[in-house]
Subunit: 449 residues, 2 copies
């Protein structure tokens, strides 16, 4: 039995009763965190473009809700818009070793399909777990070489979204095999956009969720796909990876819940900046330093951070600033945090932050790089204006599984994000939070939002 077959067999057999309570609870947390990210982007470019496209090309109304505007559409367009919107503010979850932002591709697809198909909260949760478990393993399988050029959340995200919807449709092993074929052959998304501050990151997640959903609906109707799209000679790894490891596909299926390893984002920036941000913050607090006392910060990072962040020197947009190590550390040093509010107010127009940005360097560090992507270590070497050299280090950035956000912190993050965009009042947000934490008991998701 191939690793792909083993994965598909597992997905087909996966049952709600198998899911431990803490896995269910964490899935609800992840759903909550995803919803906050989507709501936080309301009205922000380029989300209205996707909303208008859905209105133009889709039906006037439909069974699936569009989060940012309260409208409805077919499942396809709801998935498209909701996936674009939930990745914009860079606050959605990330799984470390796969470098996959699972929430922003899995939940938009599975939520839209669940509303379309009249499924329950339980069914939504089970399908979401399937999407996470498959997506994370496929991301790990594709390896570091893939992520160097391809945006894994876009490429692998298509498969993760497809699997989630396939589970909702109660696929058997054979259908999952075909599904992976049809989803995998649509997998796309290149990092090239980042240096230009272009809008592709939202296009990537929009398309991954929508394409995955399309693959699942067509598979349910009988479309066949390549049986070996992951491991085959003319498949995904053959075309887009040089270090693929098939054993990752079936790694501890049923005993390892990879979903639990997902990190919540605390700072509103690219996850590659978080380890250094936390290391700097800890060091400044420990030493009682202000930003004026700092002459230089050298961040010691893994290669992936350089590949992604190395493209941005002087950021041209708030979104691009989230991929600027210097800006993130500047916000931390000058304002003590790098949340949505700080980014909006200070990332581009604060001279202290800009000045600090130019004091930050990135150097490849053998230890940090060796631990990556399983562990995202934070190491900074700080030089003070009076010539002292200080070292800061953290081993688990805030939000990592071993340093995770409590439900209180998640609720606080939800409130901050919805307040940022004005999408919900605090009272409305409070109600929505409770509703998500009771998701497993929702009999219907019809007009659920």
């Amino acid at each position: 039995m191939s690793h792909t077959q083993a994965l598909c067999r597992f997905l087909a057999a996966l049952d709600y009763e198998q899911l431990p309570d803490h896995v269910l609870a964490r899935t609800e947390d992840l759903f909550l965190d995803w919803l906050a990210s989507a709501l936080a982007s309301q009205g922000a470019h380029p989300i209205p473009l996707f909303e208008r496209y859905a209105r133009k090309m889709g039906p006037a109304t439909g069974p699936a809700q569009i989060i940012v505007n309260g409208a409805s559409s077919s499942a396809y367009f709801a998935a498209l818009v909701n996936a674009a919107s939930s990745h914009l503010v860079e606050q959605d979850d990330l799984h470390n070793s796969s470098v996959l932002h699972a929430a922003t591709v899995v939940f938009p697809a599975v939520f839209a399909a669940a509303q379309d198909l009249g499924k329950s909260g339980r069914e939504l949760l089970l399908a979401s777990v399937a999407g996470y478990e498959a997506g994370i393993r496929i991301g790990e399988f594709m390896g570091r070489s893939h992520y160097r050029i391809f945006h894994t959340t876009a490429t692998v995200g298509t498969l993760a979204a497809a699997v989630a919807v396939g589970k909702l449709l109660d696929f058997n092993e054979e259908q999952f095999i075909n599904l992976l074929g049809s989803a995998g052959t649509q997998a796309a998304g290149l990092w090239e956009f980042l240096r230009d501050a272009a809008d592709s990151k939202q296009l990537h997640t929009a398309k991954a969720a929508a394409d995955g959903l399309l693959a699942a609906y067509l598979t349910a109707d009988g479309l066949t796909g390549a049986r070996n799209i992951l491991e085959g000679d003319q498949g995904l790894a053959a075309g887009m990876s040089t270090d693929a490891d098939p054993s990752k596909l079936s790694d501890r299926l049923g005993s390892r819940w990879a979903l639990l390893e997902t990190s919540f984002k605390f700072h509103a920036s690219c996850r590659h900046t978080h380890p250094a941000a936390d290391a700097l913050l800890g060091l400044m607090q420990r030493e009682g330093l202000s930003h004026e006392q700092i002459a230089h910060v050298e961040t010691r990072v893994h290669q992936g951070a350089i590949d992604v962040l190395g493209r941005v020197s002087v950021p041209q947009s708030v979104h691009q600033a989230k991929f600027s190590m210097g800006t993130v550390l500047g916000l931390i040093a000058v304002h003590g945090k790098a949340g949505l509010t700080e980014f909006q107010a200070f990332a581009l127009n604060d001279s202290n932050v800009s000045a600090f940005r130019d004091k930050v360097g990135m150097t490849l560090d053998r230890e940090v790089d060796g631990a990556y992507p399983q562990r995202w270590l934070g190491r900074v070497v700080l030089t003070t204006v009076d010539g002292r050299v200080l070292h800061g280090a953290i081993d688990e950035p805030k939000g990592d599984p071993g340093n995770t956000l409590s439900r209180e912190e998640l609720a606080d993050k939800f409130q901050r994000l919805t307040r940022f965009s004005g999408a919900r009042t605090p009272a409305q947000s409070g109600e929505l939070i409770q509703k998500v934490w009771d998701l497993r008991n929702a009999v219907s998701l019809d007009h659920w939002l």
Copy 2:
């Protein structure tokens, strides 16, 4: 100025008045040939799956026509279904040196958008030329290494479709640059499906046309894309090619009309089988041989033919049989042709054809491979049952620019294809043919079909 910029500048400036009459006439021919391919697939799996998906996810009616069923939808879904359907019977055109089937991705997108936007026949033709000229050059740019794993019509097809719709939307240079970014980052499509006789080839063209159209509409509304998606360090060539040649992107812009180099398909099979099929047919006619007199045929081919056709031994479906060199040559040897009717009747169930299939081999030939992809040479070495060794050779397969189909032959092909599916009566087809040859004078394309 980069090659990408030069291409975008050319596309923005391209004017109807610049198009020589023979380019316009050939574009109408290509449109006719495309329409025949779409109509020929009516009712055949997996096209109804795409029709049902469009009905489920799209509006009940819309400005754009779905060719195979006479229904209408939004431009997005019409492009999706029409592109799936026009690639199924393997009779749509091919450009040799780019290995791009341009018609099946360019025309569905541009026709749907033209109907949506209220454009004229002239505007459709101009936009189609833009799509061909860009798509062919981008295909050549991506090189042979790309085609080894990726289905160029799917990947590059996304950009070709996008450019055509962008031209219809009257994009300027800057918009074309952004458009290539948004289209290129969606480019996907792997050959892996072929060995399993899976349905992905139709999914590929459907998605290429629809994704290209999506990129163009979003770009018109202000979505930005990577400025260097083709040549950049984290772009299309970096991720999916090892022999990309940027100079191809701007090759003789305005003086070379690459569209004129497009081949029409005579046989209803993968184009890689055509050179050998024509060489065998010529040799059998010259020597007066029947299939019973032939002991073995060794086809001497380019590597691309082995990469694509080498996956199929005993075909499991009529569609897969079109990628079986032995089956195609069997149809030629036993029935004298390999058209849609012969494939349907004899490709899987004729013992003479199956027996002949097992007598056919493929060998890489240095001369043939060296000429490819600019020229697709046909070379066969035939051994008779009485021990003679005979050589067959053709330098331009039927349908190639130097051995093209006349308007009479194109009309005959149109009649054969529409008769095959029963989509149109001979009289209706006759009218449609005349209508296409007058496309440049169509003031409106509203309900044009």
